[in-house]
Each structure stands twice: as C-alpha cells, then as structure tokens.
Subunit: 343 residues, 2 copies
C-alpha cells in the first residue's frame, strides 16, 4: 500500500521526518506492507515543490542545504502560496510542522481547516491549532471522514495521546499533572545549584533551548498551551490557553528554590487540569513538590505527565532528552495509524 | 457484538475482573458495541460452573461469599477438573488468573496450551507461563489464529506491552530497566529510614504484601521472572528466569542503604536487559542509583519501566499503588483488544 504525504513546514522537524521516512520505508514495507511517498513540500522561506511521483528525499535535503531552496524540484504551474499548495498537492495526508504562533494558532489553523475541507487527513506537530480549535478540527475531520492526529504536540514523540487512546479504553481521567516546559525546568534545575535566574536563562538561550524573547516560556504560556490540549482531549474540557490560571517562574529567587530543597521539596512549574465543581479547571504555577512526587525528579529538558484515573490510581510517563527525531517519530506514528485505518 | 469469556482462577483478580465486567458492560456497549458475557468459572478450591447463557455476576459473587462455592450455579454434567472445564466451556476467550508457580509456570502453562489447541483466545495475568513459554505460546496461538495477551503480567494493568505494541511501531528497544518487585522496593524504602531488613520484611508480611516464605521476592526471583518477559517480548530474547544473572537484597544492611543516601544515591533492586556482544543478557541486582535517575524515586509498592530506544532516547512509565482492580483492568483491555480483532 502506498500512502502519499505532503509536508507543510520544513524546519528541523519536517526535515527530520523526511529523513526518518527515507530510513524507515524498508521496515515499513516489511512490517506493515506500507510505503510512504512525499509528494510535496511547502516551506516558509525555502520555496515549494510538488512532485506527484514522490520526491527523491536525499536530493531534496541536499538541495535545501546547497541552494537554500526546494523550488528547483518543482515541475508544473508555479505554486502561489501555502493554500494553493494544499489545494493542489496530490497527497492523502498533510503533515503540518510550522513554527508556532502561540496567541492564536494562526496561520496554521487556517491551513488545517483548508486541508480538511479538501478531504485530506491532517497530522500536526504544532500546538497552536490544537490548543485553540481541538473540538472544531475534530468535528470537521469527522464530517469529512478524515483523521486529525497530533501526537507530537506534547512531549515530542513520546506517546501520550496514543497511550490513552490505544491502551487505556474506558478509562476515566480525573486529574492530569505535568512538567511540560523544558526551558523553565532547566532554569529551575540550575537555580537549585545556586545559579541566578538571569544567568540560568542566559545559558538556556546560548544553548538554543530558550527563545531570545523568553517570556513565552518563563511566563508559563507554553505550558498553558500544552495543559489546554491535555484537558480538552483527556477530560472533554473546552478551554483555550487564555482560560488557564497561569503564574510563571519570573518571581522566584535562588533563595526560594534552595529553601525548598532544604525542606525536602523541589520547586517545579507544574501544569494541572482537574475537575472542580463539575467543571475542568487548569493551572500552571510553581509548586513545591515533595521529592517523593514522581514529578519532582524530572531534570532539565525532560518532560513528564501523570494521569490519575478511576481504574489505575496513577500512570506516569516521561521522556528523556528529546530532539527533532523524536518529534518526527511522533508524526510518523500518526501517519502509520492513518494508513492502518484510524480515523 | 457478544463476546464470551471463561475465567480460570477466581481469586482477587478473577473476582475483580467479574466486578469490572459487570460495571463496565454499559460503557462497553455504548463505546464499542460490545457486551462481555462470562460463560464459565473454574476456581481452585471453590468449585466450577458453566452457564452457556452467561452467569449472573452479582449472584455468583454472592454465592462465593456466602457458600464458599460457585458449583451451585452449574447445570449439566459435572465438571471433572480444569482441563475438562476448558474443553467444555462455550467461551471464545479463556482468562487465566491462577496463582503463580514461579519455577515452571505449571499447571497454568498446560491449561493455556490446551485452550489454544481448542482454538480459544487466551488472556493471562500469570507471569509463569509467559516467562517460561512465550515463544511457544505465541506460535501456537498464531497457528490456531488465536490471540495470546498478557498485559497484566508486569506492572498490573499499567500498559507496558500495549504501550510498545500499539503506540511505538518500528521502534528498536536497546535496553530495558525497571523496578518490578514491590516487596523488595518497600523493604529498601523502610531501610532508608533506619529500619532493619528483618523488621521491614515483617511489616511487609503483616501488610499482606510479602509472602510468608519471602525468598521468592527477596532473592530476586519474581523480578527475574518479569525481566525475562520484557526481554523476550521487547528484545526477541529467548531467556528463561534461570538465565537471569540474579542477586537479591538479602546481603544489604541498613548501613549500606544509608551510606548510599549520604552519597546522593538510592539503592534499588534493578532489573535490566540489554544487548551485549550481539545477545540479550538480563540481570537483577541491587544498584546504587543517582537520585536523578528516573528509577531512583519509585517508592514502596510502585513499579517502573524505562525503555531506551533508537528514536526516542528514553521513555519511562510507572504506576502508583495498585490493587486487584488495576490488574483486572489489564485483562479487560486484553479482552477488548481481542474483541476488536487483535490477534
């Protein structure tokens, strides 16, 4: 079976996915009788290309490295813009890995709507559209008999949505807690050793983990976007990130962090969603956790989610250090699930 | 869709499963169009019953509580023994939850073989048969187009086998580490506070967690049985528990445990399977872990497994305190998977 995909967004994750598809196609054929073919790529600043026979992946990666553009691989009528690309690319699945606009999910959200209206399955690694329009995209997908999958939006490729969907049938999730922002967690780990907030942040920026404008991480917005997705998907909430009760780590001092340590606690930026008076409320805030809490020992860029349920008291899943390959793997799993019939 | 199951073994887990089926059948019908019917129960010391119309679960639980036997619910020719029960019970799935014989997996292993020869799907919560005959049962099941599932054998109902099978396609697991024995982990947690090994063990026995003969836990045999299953299922090994390089916790003193703590380490009974010179080797032994290791903070009866893979550096999953309901839930998930077509 041949499955055709088009990539919208071709940064680190998009390129890692192309590499992964190239490397894993033999195993996919052997294990699932499946061959993935990339029939189009639409990038932000490196042009677009459609090839209905499937692009040569190594040639395309070479082209972007040497010429900075994939446009040379396009044949046929020029592509005007991303909507034009989505309408024309002969692909069953649109895989969207654009940079995040955390305030609105745009323009990715509009692209995903367009793809669904054209009866394409969608896979996204982009938190924005899922945080702002999960219910809408889900019903739009259902209406067009299409899949809408987003495993990589939280914890990279570590399975959290698939864990619940595929391995925990009938389960009732009563509370979700997590540590989901690498920058703030790394800053707090450094502050435990006595480093100031400012120096810790600077180190994270130099390492390329924190953004030049760090407020998105430091003020808890990124974490709020993620807990919104978990609350909406796992607890049937209808929140947006604006509904999350949010406190960042900017007011914490080294003294606060070290005093907690002396008291046998660890301060973490904890995301939480739970039922309260019959509704789901979500929060992001610094919490002093006892060291015995499974969330307490997550260091640096590791992420963790803990689920409290009716049938298993607590299930916790965490990931080690992750890069673009892990995120791309999450997209690949979504593609395989669609190819195997999941809607 | 109606699916018929027969329970072989009706202790805590078997009874919890019966209760769960009773409680969850409405949700099963609504979500999966599925109704589970228990057409037979075979117990160790409380009789047997077959009812091809499906037993009344609350009446059966009442009967065992009041009369100590389910035999009063049987109609038709008397049932001679468990093999006779397996041959005659009109059930698509045999769910085996007998007590473990850790040295050989018998007699459960023979019962599972018999069930497969009679073309019944098998679900087991019993580690023995899986540790001693995974490959054999797997090919026997394949030969008869039957399923052979065992989610509850490791970490109760917390999904570990389903995690890998259903959410991590194509992944290459290079190393498995875990803390999988509740008794020894609880003893070590108590020794950290200064309690002697003997007193800690006694507390565990009084709490009903450790056996009267504790050597099965303390000498690492239970952990060896579990790492054997993980190595065979995840790494294509062909080990038996006798192949595991095994050291128990009997030689550890409070001084050892507390000296490690002072050095920023935690002593745990760690199970491990990894590739070495092209083959899989497995071990169970006390290891002083740095506190930053995800395995280090697992307390008391909690269990944890950490997978190192080619595409995601490390995925760790853990369970909180678990009882028979969690184990029964793992069996229920296996039943649902079989009903939905998994072989």
């Amino acid at each position: 079976m041949e499955i055709t995909i088009a990539l919208v967004g071709f940064g680190n994750v998009g390129q890692a996915l192309a590499r992964l598809v190239d490397a894993k196609n033999p195993a996919l054929r052997e294990n699932y009788g499946l061959n993935i073919s990339i029939t189009g790529v639409s990038t932000g600043r490196h042009g677009c290309a459609i090839d209905s026979y499937g692009v040569d992946i190594s040639r395309m990666l070479e082209a972007i490295e040497q010429t900075g553009s994939v446009s040379g691989m396009h044949s046929g009528k020029p592509i005007i813009d991303t909507p034009d690309f989505i309408r024309r690319v002969p692909a069953e699945i649109i895989v969207e890995t654009m940079p995040l606009n955390p305030e609105s999910g745009q323009p990715a959200l509009d692209y995903l709507r367009l793809a669904l209206h054209h009866k394409r399955h969608i896979v996204t690694a982009n938190k924005g559209p899922v945080a702002f329009a999960y219910q809408e995209l889900k019903s739009l997908a259902r209406q067009h008999n299409c899949a809408f999958l987003f495993e990589s939006t939280v914890m990279d490729g570590t399975p959290i949505f698939n864990l619940v969907r595929a391995t925990l049938p009938l389960i009732d999730i009563q509370r979700v807690r997590g540590i989901l922002n690498s920058t703030t967690n790394s800053i707090l780990s450094r502050m435990e050793t006595g480093m100031s907030f400012e120096n810790a942040l600077q180190e994270m920026q130099q390492a390329g983990i924190a953004e030049t404008n760090p407020s998105y991480d430091v003020d808890g917005w990124d974490a709020a976007v993620k807990i919104t997705i978990l609350a909406n998907v796992f607890m049937h909430a209808r929140l947006t990130p604006h509904d999350v009760n949010r406190t960042g780590i900017g007011a914490l001092t080294v003294d606060d962090v070290q005093a907690a340590l002396r008291a046998g606690q660890v301060i973490k930026l904890v995301c939480e969603a739970r039922y309260e008076h019959g509704a789901v409320t979500a929060s992001v805030k610094p919490v002093a956790l006892p060291v015995s809490d499974p969330l307490a020992q997550v260091r640096g860029t590791e992420n963790i989610v803990s689920l409290e349920t009716d049938m298993i008291s607590r299930i916790t899943i965490s990931e080690g250090e992750a890069g673009p390959t892990a995120t791309a793997y999450g997209c690949l799993v979504d593609i395989i699930n669609i190819a195997r019939g999941y809607r």
